[in-house]
Symmetry: C2
């Protein structure tokens, strides 16, 4: 199972009642964060989550509201006695930006590894997460992310028995490794069924609606998407500053055929967001307003023949 927490929902600047937009995932003892603005470390504490298992931080882009919390986060992770390396993923320029910000966090008890995304889309397999960065359309180079937990096929006992593979090798094959026994080689594909549906979360802020967003968000269990403006008359502003309205996000959710949409990255001027939701749900019924600290546990889908 994959735990997701939307740590904050603000765009542009943090407010006393609204932390900057950031997402955190927990899976199998390893945590992943996307974006880390000013005060995100407070939001982590408020959510009751831990800094210690954060192994990966992904950045959508380098506007301050998405990365200004990094130096403090690194120091707090150091104070939590981290010694394992931390992986940072972000657009071109990551090493330069991180080096500059570390002027106030120069000494850490762990290594910081920077991976700069190459091209318009790139996939990384780290700590059990399959992370795909896909370029979107903002006024600076910006990426959205899908985070997937893949699920392998079912182990076919009948097939293993038919091939006379001893039971003590079954676990090895299930882990995806091959086995040699009495001069024969057994490979996982001999005993494993087709890959089953995993869990998929898509996170996207700071963009106009794009084809890459619809394609990558396709069939997500959860789609966390920016809705900078709720007021319909602010569409022109959304276009000018390369953001999205609530309705555009809902339309993207519909086209990508996602299970659920959480809106986030609200403009500081937006105060009564709930009032706009009935109109949003006319476009996409499973739309929810993001709230600071909103959590969900996503499980693998049970299948009929289990």
């Amino acid at each position: 199972m994959l735990d997701i927490c939307l740590l904050g929902t603000a765009g542009m600047m943090p407010l006393p009642y609204r932390y900057l937009t950031s997402m955190m995932a927990r899976y199998n003892g390893s945590s992943l964060m996307i974006d880390c603005g000013e005060a995100t470390q407070i939001a982590v504490k408020k959510a009751g989550w831990s800094f210690h298992p954060i192994d990966i931080i992904c950045f959508t882009h380098y506007h301050a509201d998405h990365i200004s919390g990094l130096p403090g986060m690194l120091l707090t992770m150091g104070n939590a006695e981290r010694t394992q390396p931390l992986t940072l993923i972000g657009p071109k320029g990551l090493t330069r930006v991180v080096s500059a910000l570390r002027v106030i966090a120069p000494e850490l008890p762990f290594e910081v590894q920077c991976i700069e995304i190459a091209g318009t889309t790139q996939t990384f397999s780290l700590h059990g997460y399959e992370i795909t960065a896909f370029q979107v359309n903002h006024n600076v180079l910006c990426y959205g992310y899908t985070v997937e937990i893949k699920r392998q096929g079912r182990f076919c006992v009948e097939q293993a028995q038919a091939l006379s593979i001893p039971k003590n090798y079954w676990g090895i094959l299930q882990k995806g490794e091959q086995v040699q026994y009495e001069g024969r080689v057994y490979t996982p594909d001999m005993v494993m069924g087709p890959q089953r549906k995993g869990i998929k979360v898509t996170y996207c802020t700071d963009t106009r609606p794009t084809e890459s967003l619809i394609q990558n968000a396709d069939n997500s269990d959860l789609f966390i998407c920016e809705g900078m403006y709720a007021e319909k008359e602010k569409l022109a502003k959304a276009k000018q500053y390369k953001h999205m309205t609530f309705y555009e996000a809902a339309q993207a959710a519909k086209e990508a055929n996602v299970q659920e949409l959480w809106l986030t990255h609200f403009s500081p001027s937006l105060v009564h967001a709930e009032e706009y939701m009935p109109k949003v749900r006319k476009i996409f019924p499973h739309a929810q307003l993001g709230k600071d600290g909103k959590m969900v546990v996503l499980n693998f889908t049970e299948e009929a023949n289990v």
Copy 2:
């Protein structure tokens, strides 16, 4: 009158219920801030104060908890449509640190002027504030600050009349400028009494007790001083990390003969600070525990013959 707000009271890292230590002053339409850690901009909003009139930000040193909020603060000040220059004051290295942090705040609608403190003590007169930086004793170069509002002497009407200075020149002399009238030069000292007691606030974090601290805090109306540790047995830790205990701060307040002490910059491990205050007040009775958003209005002392 001078308004003071202690925006936060945390040391090391911000917590959900405790912002990082920072002080803000308001005087005559101009605001001054000392230290700007992560989330200080949220604390300003929570206090209901404005970004717009902040003309000066002073930094004690460059540990992240005292400056990590600067990029976000600069952007928020820009969004508040600031166009006037902003003055930053801090230890040697300020220009380098600010330039590095501005990697995520490169474009601002106002000029940022950096003044690096020269030597062990330096005084600056800016926007009606007389600011003195004095070196203290931390594990990196660190300064405390006094912020004073000076008060000139009383205008002596009898003296002005005796010298036959026309009334329309009195205001000019009161402003400290000289006047020429019928071939004679009149200077302010001819009509102004001796300087009267002004208002003095001292702010000091991240140091062991020092002679410079006692000397500079001398006779302050308000002394905001770090008390990293309240537990008496943590004195060794305080010495090791170059911080102060509550009792050392109280002793400094007593020796400096201040009117009132506010303790701040608490260790994240300190949770029941109030319990230690009776012992603190045995050393210095006018000691108070700092609270996030604690404010006071300091007025010029009324004199008996007013």
